[in-house]
Symmetry: none
Subunit: 278 residues, 4 copies
Amino acid sequence: MRLAFNTWVYSSFPVWVPSYPLDETIRRLARIGYDGIEIGAAAPHAYPDYLDDAARTEIKRHLDDNGIVVSSMLPAPGGGPGFNVASPLEAERLNAIDQYKKVAKLCADLGGKTLLYVAGWQVFGTRTEQAWEWSREALIDVAAYAADLDVTVVVEPTSADSNLVETCDGALRLMRESGGSNVKVMFDTYHCLYRNEVPTDYVYRMAKDLGHVHLADLNRAAPGDGKVDYKALIAALRDVGFDGYVTMEIGFDTRAVEPDNVARRAYEYIKPLVAGTA
Amino acid sequence: MRLAFNTWVYSSFPVWVPSYPLDETIRRLARIGYDGIEIGAAAPHAYPDYLDDAARTEIKRHLDDNGIVVSSMLPAPGGGPGFNVASPLEAERLNAIDQYKKVAKLCADLGGKTLLYVAGWQVFGTRTEQAWEWSREALIDVAAYAADLDVTVVVEPTSADSNLVETCDGALRLMRESGGSNVKVMFDTYHCLYRNEVPTDYVYRMAKDLGHVHLADLNRAAPGDGKVDYKALIAALRDVGFDGYVTMEIGFDTRAVEPDNVARRAYEYIKPLVAGTA
Amino acid sequence: MRLAFNTWVYSSFPVWVPSYPLDETIRRLARIGYDGIEIGAAAPHAYPDYLDDAARTEIKRHLDDNGIVVSSMLPAPGGGPGFNVASPLEAERLNAIDQYKKVAKLCADLGGKTLLYVAGWQVFGTRTEQAWEWSREALIDVAAYAADLDVTVVVEPTSADSNLVETCDGALRLMRESGGSNVKVMFDTYHCLYRNEVPTDYVYRMAKDLGHVHLADLNRAAPGDGKVDYKALIAALRDVGFDGYVTMEIGFDTRAVEPDNVARRAYEYIKPLVAGTA
Amino acid sequence: MRLAFNTWVYSSFPVWVPSYPLDETIRRLARIGYDGIEIGAAAPHAYPDYLDDAARTEIKRHLDDNGIVVSSMLPAPGGGPGFNVASPLEAERLNAIDQYKKVAKLCADLGGKTLLYVAGWQVFGTRTEQAWEWSREALIDVAAYAADLDVTVVVEPTSADSNLVETCDGALRLMRESGGSNVKVMFDTYHCLYRNEVPTDYVYRMAKDLGHVHLADLNRAAPGDGKVDYKALIAALRDVGFDGYVTMEIGFDTRAVEPDNVARRAYEYIKPLVAGTA
């Protein structure tokens, strides 16, 4: 079980500032002690269209120099192009699938093995069953592409922000229906809280299918500054033999934040639990 | 002085849901009584790349059928592609300029005359002077393109979200430095509140250069549900001879909102002030 | 469109006190002006096993004397016997189905035509698909029984309290899968709020399948003391031709309440909207 | 003095979810370290009618395997059947008495020695003296039955939820009037808080008649997360020679809870006080 940190709070998504270049972000997270970095595929960090081969090589070298690896990558849904795989607009759906593939490629280029999949959301006028079908088809398409890159796609329930895959069983169902051997599931404690559900329930039910974990507390606060029972969560992850990345996805929903501060607080709170020294 | 309503709260930007198709949004705002609609250039409403000529013609007819006009359009900065005209990434800057031009074209195609300009923001590591220069150059480029379409570009100070053009004078300075005869300024009461400034001060200082106004109260609440003095504001607009659109840009920063409710409450509160019946 | 009031706040469910006998409750609601009363099937009001034929005849006469009708009835899930139709315990599932039938019979005996259906909830260790299947089978069984009594069964999404049927489309799907011609759907604004969804979306999507409506605001407050847009809601109900009961289900989750007070406040706020005088 | 934990927060009473099967609940509480488990007689855990002899034997073996004993059992009043021993409905009163006997039998079958007695509540229209008389008669009946099973009945003042036995002296008076040698009293710090009374006052006044104790803080929070002085409380219990179970009855009034978290926090806070190591 290793620790990683998600870059949103250092980027311009979804809140524009504060914003740091990717190289600066890599250096800071490595210095705090994180094993991995989860890079969001948004400007100014890692929008695929903005990064040519030379830029990717440079980022990879910078990661190596700092002794930190890419734990995972994820798209930035909801902005201008939307990237909603369940959109009623065919043009948006096609572009979303294309974007997921570009992010999978970028992920592999940077040495990453895990791509997060947000199943999209239902726009008024679209039936749930139709939205689900579009999302399922997109997942199948993306997963097949990612398989060739040796990248695993993990489906995340995002109840706080969306209305299609909101639960543990919803994510498992989409995973199963995709049929892909490189498709797994993940969860984020923040979305558990939105539904008033228990994070360890997710661990035990996802078990061997669990490929990734996000930690965040109420209001996207750092672990230890909220109400989630992390001691039980880490113990449960150990119970099921989880060997992926426990990743902080915190602090990014407000301009009123010091990125290094939340990154360090989270690390200092969780590291001893994972190391078995607390 | 006419009333318009900004579509964010009906769209997937910045919060993914609730989300309504554009035709449904047009119908609802027209029924409430708005003269104009400010359309955000984001999926699923109006991302330029997703709308071919046929789609634009169809939207235009739907607007006409409902007796409502496009008051203005604006981009959706901060999402995946960023669209930060002051980004340290050249690829992002070029794409941002291109996107503003596409939105200007779409605006003209739909009968609109006003394009909002967000001056971008300074990423850590970029000097203010450099960011300003990039923003100024982008504005000059976009304004020249828009002039041929008979579209006016209005510079908006966005202090709550950015760090480059944050004030009344900052917007006026960028406008002047652009040199474009089709460049004006605008302001949003929400950003005035963020700086604890007085909205009527903006009216009197922008005066003849004022091309557009956004209304929103604390936490993006509807006018009447907060603390701004709208009676004074409307009176000040009348004083300076403002003949543009007073546009509500409200409710969009949370999933916990009924879009029609904030749209109607805002209309019912402001309409009598504008009509001189309250 | 008629107005009804749910009896929980006058009963011992879920909070034990204040508690009034059913005859007293009938008299008070009729005096305030309600057309209908929604009776909860719990002691001391209307637990079927406690009411023999004579008692039912007496209640019916009392209703007639006071000029008020039974708009609907509903079970009281979650107490000792549970009545969870999706329980992992077979004994509980069978008893739940039996209880729904008893309530349907009691409803018909008192002149009511509508039975609410809570689809149950998923206990840890039960898969969603299994819980759904049990709930679907129970609904089919109950609906067939109710059909002979000329009683319609309405499926309610109860997101704030359960985890199986939480959404508009979930309720519609269960309804369709039941195949019963006397099965419809309903919704409660309180549960919309829990999911941060828009009540009018439910109206337009349920439309002709909408058989019943519950009104309640944040914290089960009376309409007018919260944030729901009732003006839009009543207008939407009129749009789709709804001719059932708009029923207040409020105030019951705390001992700190005056039942008559919330009943009267709700009536005075909603009546003019329904009557078209506000 | 031993520590026990009440199962409500793991069950569907009074809030439906989260909900865990009884065997899972037993396993978790034993692992945390509790000596005893207080089982609520509600679905899906232990509604007597749902548990045949085979099921009871299986539960007993599971308890033994996990090294934890049944400290006590209690009914689930207020649900559909009410189980209010002071109800104006004779059918409900008779059924309540019957239910208490069934729970006493189940308690004995599982090896438990203590049955909690909620004295019921006064419904509008019933005189206090009448309600009291019904409750007294019920207690006499139940206690006689329990005596043959070697089960002690403890009367609990429940001021926060009821209006008949609300105080220390009320409980003692009902106990004395029952005349049963296997009738004692208990108290819950949560109900002391509701009346703004001092928990140690209850200890010293109940003294040798004190058979059981519930711990819970403001809003049913875990000990240590509220305002009660547990150090003084445990000391007072030691003063009077209390040798029963100190039982946590916490967290169950909201869906927003992680059961293991409150169970462990409570244990870690109280255990050192009881062990004399803090």
